[in-house]
């Protein structure tokens, strides 16, 4: 396994080196027509890399990138022609202006998602296009803007091969920055949002903030691409920034491979050269695009990159994970706090808490105290309102009335990421993992709040960021070892057997270093051996000083490990006490088994 992984890495490095050398030498052997094509590919790579950040990684489909690209191009063109600014000033300003529009485009994503958002982005693109055509005074209308100067430094003009190297340089920077961001807490937050927004919030990620960040970053790339395009071609018109172009941008990443760094590069290269290979292609352009879109979704996951990956590894993806383990095997386990603080005995207190949905009262004036350092179970028959209680405590719902006190303070804001920050971690009844992300990355997302990686530092991958990343990985591995999952570290979470997925959720929740851990039916779907194992794990978690609130149907487990039990039925508390008391309580037996009828 280890050698396979190394060979894989080696292969990657080698091909990267080869491609770099090739790209540096190519223009000297090609005629100007092909150099021009390479320049265009470079610009498309930038555009697609940006789109990939928001659509491929964050999962927000944008069909308005033609508009953002256009904004970059027009900003640059106007600054250069009307104000006479040089390319070196116009480029960063175009990036800035496009980024501002990215923020605007990002806002709808806070309220709406999926197909609705896609429609909004189409609308955005078309509005931008209309402005380009109609605002003749500024944009020159359908005729566009001519005479955009070539970039220059003093008398040194960036024409031909020089422009090629300038583009190559900027694309290189763009790719490195994207790569650095993706392999950091930023990129993991994006993927977490794509894979499971609910679980992303529960791990402390401010989903709204990160969606806007993704759109802004993406727009910045589109702006840079647009600016380069206008200075390269010297002339722009609205025709280059239509809805069709937005579809083309999407095609670049869908065909190349969404959610991978090389995907957009391959997509841009293939789709730019394709028309050159097929003569009379223009007539069939949309037809081929359409077929490619459908095939990419139905037949090839992760586009061309996915195909290659499967060819190389044929399901034997490198699974070595020991690389993150420190030399000495005596790792100090720092992931669980053993310090106990005192909140007057009860870490969590529910006072007269009610929650109704429409006319239905799911939780009815519930009072409950959870003593610090205990395992407290919440049980009750089907539909009793247990999950609603968990969702209230973890900030998914706001109580209709009553108050929740955590660590002695009344909770006033009900937002999952805020609750996560204050020290509440949870697992979910139906597994809510980031399915396509690796097991290790799932745990690392849990550390989101604790990993200190600033934005700019991450872009440049400063030594401090590198160090923090390594430390985080070591800690995550230690957590995985605690739950017996370390050998799966590099596997996508969806490939794990169900029981292991449940454990991984616990590992991810522990990664927050919570004071209170909410477990929502952790034993559901586990086999007997796994349940025994789970009991040990939960007890160990308690011994480390983490308070556990457990919702569970498997009574053997509940009775064995609980210190205290609260029973609810129809949203009301019907009994509470230690396990022995509950087991013999007639009301409880009745609630579960019903009364005998004549």
């Amino acid at each position: 396994m280890q050698s396979l992984k190394r060979r894989y890495k080696y292969l990657q490095m080698l091909s990267l080196l080869f491609v770099s050398v090739l790209l540096l030498l190519m223009p000297f052997f090609l005629n100007t027509y092909y150099v021009r094509l390479l320049q265009l590919i470079g610009i498309y790579v930038l555009l697609a890399t940006g789109l990939n950040l928001v659509t491929g990684y964050t999962g927000q489909v944008s069909l308005g990138h033609g508009g953002l690209y256009g904004i970059g191009a027009y900003t640059s063109a106007l600054l250069a022609t009307k104000l006479g600014l040089s390319f070196w000033v116009a480029l960063p300003l175009s990036i800035l202006v496009a980024a501002v529009f990215g923020v605007i485009l990002g806002f709808p994503s806070l309220r709406i998602r999926g197909p609705y958002l896609a429609m909004v982005t189409i609308g955005f693109g078309i509005i931008i296009e209309k402005i380009m055509v109609e605002w003749t005074g500024l944009t020159g209308g359908p005729i566009g803007i001519m005479g955009i100067p070539t970039p220059q430094i003093g008398k040194f003009l960036f024409t031909g091969n020089r422009m090629y190297f300038l583009i190559l340089f900027l694309v290189g920077i763009g790719l490195v920055v994207a790569h650095n961001l993706i392999n950091s807490k930023w990129g993991r937050a994006f993927v977490a949002i794509r894979e499971n927004e609910i679980a992303a919030g529960a791990m402390g990620i401010n989903v709204r903030e990160f969606k806007v960040i993704a759109f802004t970053l993406s727009a910045a790339y589109a702006g840079a691409a647009g600016s380069l395009y206008s200075h390269l071609s010297g002339y722009i018109s609205p025709d280059s920034f239509t809805f069709n172009f937005s579809i083309f941008s999407l095609l670049l990443i869908v065909v190349g491979g969404m959610g991978t760094i090389v995907g957009p590069v391959i997509g841009a290269a293939v789709l730019t050269f394709l028309p050159e290979v097929l003569h009379g292609f223009d007539k069939y352009r949309l037809l081929i695009y359409g077929v490619l879109l459908i095939i990419s979704v139905l037949a090839m996951q992760e586009g061309i990159v996915g195909l290659i990956k499967r060819k190389i590894s044929s399901n034997d993806m490198p699974q070595d994970s020991n690389q993150y383990l420190p030399e000495k095997k005596t790792l100090k386990v720092g992931f669980l706090k053993t310090v106990r603080r005192n909140f007057n005995g009860s870490i969590l207190e529910l006072v007269n808490v009610s929650k109704s949905f429409g006319g239905l009262t799911a939780v009815n004036r519930l009072n409950m105290k959870v003593v610090e350092g205990t395992i407290h179970s919440l049980i009750g028959p089907n539909g009793a309102g247990k999950s609603t209680v968990i969702n209230l405590i973890s900030g998914f719902y706001r109580p209709t009335s009553g108050e929740i006190k955590f660590k002695g303070r009344v909770v006033s804001v009900f937002e999952t990421h805020i609750q996560a920050k204050s020290g509440i971690a949870r697992t979910f009844q139906n597994v809510q993992l980031y399915q396509k992300a690796s097991v290790l990355d799932n745990v690392l997302v849990g550390m989101h709040l604790r990993i200190n990686e600033g934005f700019w530092g991450t872009c440049l991958k400063l030594p401090a960021v590198r160090r923090s990343e390594n430390l985080a990985r070591q800690e995550a591995m230690a957590l995985l070892r605690f739950l017996g999952l370390e050998r799966y570290a590099e596997m996508p979470a969806e490939k794990l057997p169900y029981g292991h997925q449940k454990l991984l959720e616990i590992a991810r929740a522990l990664a927050l270093q919570p004071d209170l851990l909410l477990l929502d039916e952790p034993a559901a779907g586990l086999n007997e051996t796994e349940v025994v194992e789970l009991a040990k794990i939960i007890t160990q978690i308690k011994e480390k000083g983490v308070t556990v609130l457990l919702v569970e149907h498997q009574m053997n487990l509940v009775m064995e490990i609980s210190d205290y039990i609260t029973v609810i039925d129809y949203g009301k508390k019907i009994a509470e006490g230690p396990p022995e008391v509950i087991q013999n309580d007639q009301t409880v037996i009745q609630a579960y088994l019903g009364t005998e009828v004549a």
């Binding site: 169900y498 009574m555 053997n556 579960y592």
Partner: protein
Amino acid sequence: MLRVTGLSVSYGSVNAVKKVSFEVAKGEIVAIIGSNGAGKTTILETISGILKPSEGKIEYQEKDITGQKAEKIVRLGISHMPEGRKIFPDLTVEDNLLLGGWVRRRDRQIIQQNIDIVFSYFPRLKERKAQLAGTLSGGEQQMLAISRALMSSPNVLLLDEPSLGLAPIMVQEIYRIIKELNSQGLTILLVEQMAYLALKVASRGYVLENGRIVLNGTGTELLQNPKVIDAYLGGKKKNQKEKPKEASL
């Protein structure tokens, strides 16, 4: 009438039901009881073709019906009343019944006959036949759900938690009707969380725990068996009677 052998069902990688075998003879009421999450609903949904089993066999009138489409199974005479009633609230009571008889819709005579029959069982529904089903009370909705399931003229009726969320008086009423339907010759497979209730009317019962059948016997036998309570509320001490079968973590 209905025989299930070695049935296992999994959702994704969850094993919800593991090697379950049971049998329902003609004219019987058989109850499957167990706490929430034990896999009861999964078993019913697999019989009615909503879920596909990963292994095992389902036979109906000595014919293998494993993995058949839901439409086919209703047509063969197995009708399933889902948990939580699931009536169509925006349609009238009558429309709900007509949709229940969807597979017999071409035979107007049978449909009319069935409507008359269910109205004779539940006269209250007749009074409310033009009312939107969503405006009915919980008990009436439950009656409607049972009636709707009867509209396809089934030989076997699968009932999922008919007592769920009902007031005790209503529960008694519903169970009275279940017994009556059975005395008219209808075979019933009943799934219940309320064990005492179900075992009272059932000729035989199976106790399901964590996807496996752990106990079975006649209704009266099970009613007197203290292990039934254990299955719901856990053993007094750690009971490790089952040997671990699958590999350790």
